[in-house]
């Protein structure tokens, strides 16, 4: 409930920032630099006179877009591979699982480092890197849960009645593991927001002038002695987003799959 509200709040912030922000997140007005919070600038301004509240709101859009696309990449490819592995078994499963095994050696930041070294920094590369990291996570989870469903009696009955593997996958397997996948997606969404912020902080992700929470933290760090508050807001935004999504994931797990909920 709390998690849902926090996540909804973020979505609303991102949606509003599409057509309205309290000030300008892009316009550089040196005369307005380091203004304290006021009615015009709710959270004050940064070293270029840009409105911090507006930058945070616009940054929400950026975080959400990166996370949605990255999780979708992992979701579609990973779930498909997992379903395929469970349906085909044998060497198909072996290959998919071994591939996912060693892709665990490449956490999102390492993949991003490689991609940026070759293609140069940018938002698209961070999406790709986070998406690639998500694929084996979804593939493993899907394959494990799907294997359990394949042994159920109703699946055997469906096979006995002559249904093909593809049809059984879509009619019986997928609907039964959907709740687990949704919960995992929520958690990976939170991880994607964290990873995007880390990559932008390092200068490998979203590039200026596009506001992003990680980038804002990077810039704020150089001003730590002058205006420490600038380093507080973007971090708080990231923490709220991740905290909300983690709580939402826990809540969804309790609602969608009571067997998995924490009984303790």
């Amino acid at each position: 409930m709390v998690g849902g509200t926090m996540t909804l709040f973020l979505l609303i912030c991102a949606a509003i920032s599409l057509f309205w922000t309290p000030g300008s997140a892009y316009e550089i007005v040196i005369a307005n630099r380091f203004l304290p919070p006021s009615a015009d600038h709710w959270l004050g301004t940064d070293q270029f006179g840009r409105d911090i509240a507006s930058m945070l709101m616009t940054g929400t859009q950026n975080s959400i877009v990166v996370a949605v696309v990255a999780v979708s990449i992992g979701l579609f490819i990973g779930v498909s591979l997992g379903l395929l592995a469970a349906a085909r078994r044998g060497w198909t499963e072996e290959i998919i699982m071994r591939l996912s095994d060693f892709s665990f050696a490449f956490p999102a930041i390492l993949s991003a480092i490689m991609l940026t070294a070759i293609l140069g920094p940018g938002g698209v590369n961070s999406i790709l890197a986070i998406g690639l990291y998500n694929i084996p996570v979804f593939a493993r989870l899907t394959r494990g849960s799907a294997n359990a469903i394949w042994t159920r009696e109703y699946v055997m009955a469906a096979r006995a009645s002559g249904k093909g593997r593809l049809r059984i996958t879509f009619e019986h397997i997928l609907p039964n593991i959907l709740s687990i996948i949704i919960v995992q997606a929520t958690i990976l969404f939170a991880i994607a927001i964290l990873a995007e912020a880390a990559l932008s902080y390092l200068g490998l992700g979203t590039q200026p002038p596009e506001p992003s929470w990680g980038r804002m933290l990077n810039e704020a760090q150089t001003l730590m002695f002058l205006d420490p508050m600038q380093a507080i807001y973007p971090g708080l935004a990231i923490a709220i987003a991740v905290f909300g999504l983690n709580l939402l994931g826990d809540g969804l797990r309790d609602v969608l799959d009571p067997r998995l909920s924490r009984k303790r």
């Binding site: 095994d101 060693f102 892709s103 665990f104 050696a105 490449f106 956490p107 999102a108 930041i109 390492l110 480092i113 490689m114 991609l115 940026t116 070294a117 070759i118 293609l119 920094p121 939170a190 964290l194 912020a197 880390a198 902080y201 390092l202 200068g203 490998l204 933290l217 704020a220 760090q221 730590m224 002695f225 420490p228 380093a231 507080i232 973007p234 971090g235 990231i238 923490a239 991740v242 905290f243 983690n246 709580l247 924490r262 303790r264």
Partner: protein, 316 residues
């Protein structure tokens, strides 16, 4: 046991070869000419060609891969394009900082996790448990690089107890160096420690409900003795697994946190290499980091078998 270890070693070697191939494919085969990248887009064609030849990039990919791997095995990583010094020298210096930082962080996070997890489990559902679990949920949500900045603001700028960043170098004395690594390792350990604390708590609670624990208690063993003799050994297995998985997160976290504190470890080295388009350094550092992740997972597998012989028996 030896069959089990032999099987694991074979998997380890296969995974390392696989990882090196992926890195090679991404870095060398994907579109993008390192010579052009080094010289810039305005470089003349002949200059690009000369550099391509100098770097050995005109040879067939397979030959290049094999010479990279044989070089690696002999400790010959080639010369950095940007610094013109052997890559191994750069990596060695950075590793001597990143490795102690990673070890300090993992020790700190295990200590944090055990203290918090055991306390929470012992006070199950009481105020202390609920508060600590709330805090740990918050700990999981905080980005480690933000926590790092907050720690600098508090301990370096406001209280002036610890340095805000930098690394004095091991010649300046161990104490000075460990002090410099204290805040970074705290920033890294808080997040990992929060995750491990939750696992420790739930794992201890689960083991507490086992029959053999009830038997031990029925025999008259005190709660403390049961905890040390029976519960911990069994409860620590899942904690160990997650610690292994978290090591990867910790190592990549090091890349980010090192940059917050301006510590010249592997993270700073690789980022500088990216900015200098020094692909040979990037390639080797990424392989080194991936190897560390793979090796730690291998060691966790082996430790497993030592702690819980059932797992080994099942695997054989």
């Amino acid at each position: 046991m030896s069959v089990f270890i032999a099987k694991r070693v074979l998997t380890l070697i296969a995974t390392l070869i696989g990882a090196s191939m992926v890195i090679f494919l991404v870095m060398e085969i994907l579109p993008g000419d390192p010579a052009l990248v080094i010289l810039g887009v305005d470089a003349s064609e002949s200059a690009v060609q000369t550099l391509t030849k100098e770097l050995g990039l005109d040879r067939p990919p397979l030959e290049r891969y094999i010479s990279w791997i044989t070089g690696l095995l002999q400790g010959e990583l080639g010369n950095s394009y940007a610094y013109k010094v052997p890559v191994w020298e750069l990596v060695q210096g950075a590793l001597l900082i990143t490795l102690p930082l990673a070890i300090m962080s993992i020790i700190l996070s295990i200590v944090l996790a055990l203290v918090i997890g055991l306390y929470a489990a012992a006070n199950h559902n009481k105020a202390g448990d609920v508060t600590l679990m709330g805090i740990s949920q918050l700990g999981i949500s905080i980005p480690n690089f933000w926590l790092a900045i907050l720690l600098i603001i508090l301990f370096a700028i406001e209280l002036r107890w610890l340095p805000a960043g930098g690394f004095p170098g091991w010649d300046e004395g161990i104490l000075k160096c460990l002090t410099a690594l204290l805040l970074p390792s705290l920033a890294l350990a808080t997040v990992v420690g929060a995750i491990l604390a939750r696992i420790t708590r739930s794992s201890v609670l689960e083991v507490f409900r086992e029959d053999y624990v009830r038997t031990a208690r029925a025999k008259g063993l005190s709660q403390r003795a049961t905890l040390w003799r029976h519960v911990l050994r069994n409860a620590l297995i899942p904690v160990l697994t997650v610690t292994g998985i978290q090591f990867a997160a910790l190592l990549t976290g090091t890349v980010v946190v090192e940059n917050v504190f301006h510590i010249p470890g592997l993270g700073s080295l690789v980022l500088k290499a990216i900015n200098n388009r020094d692909t040979i350094v990037v390639e080797n550092v990424v392989l080194l980091l991936a190897t560390m992740v793979i090796t730690v997972n291998f060691l966790v597998d082996i430790l497993y078998a030592v702690i819980d012989p059932r797992l080994k028996a099942h695997d054989i």
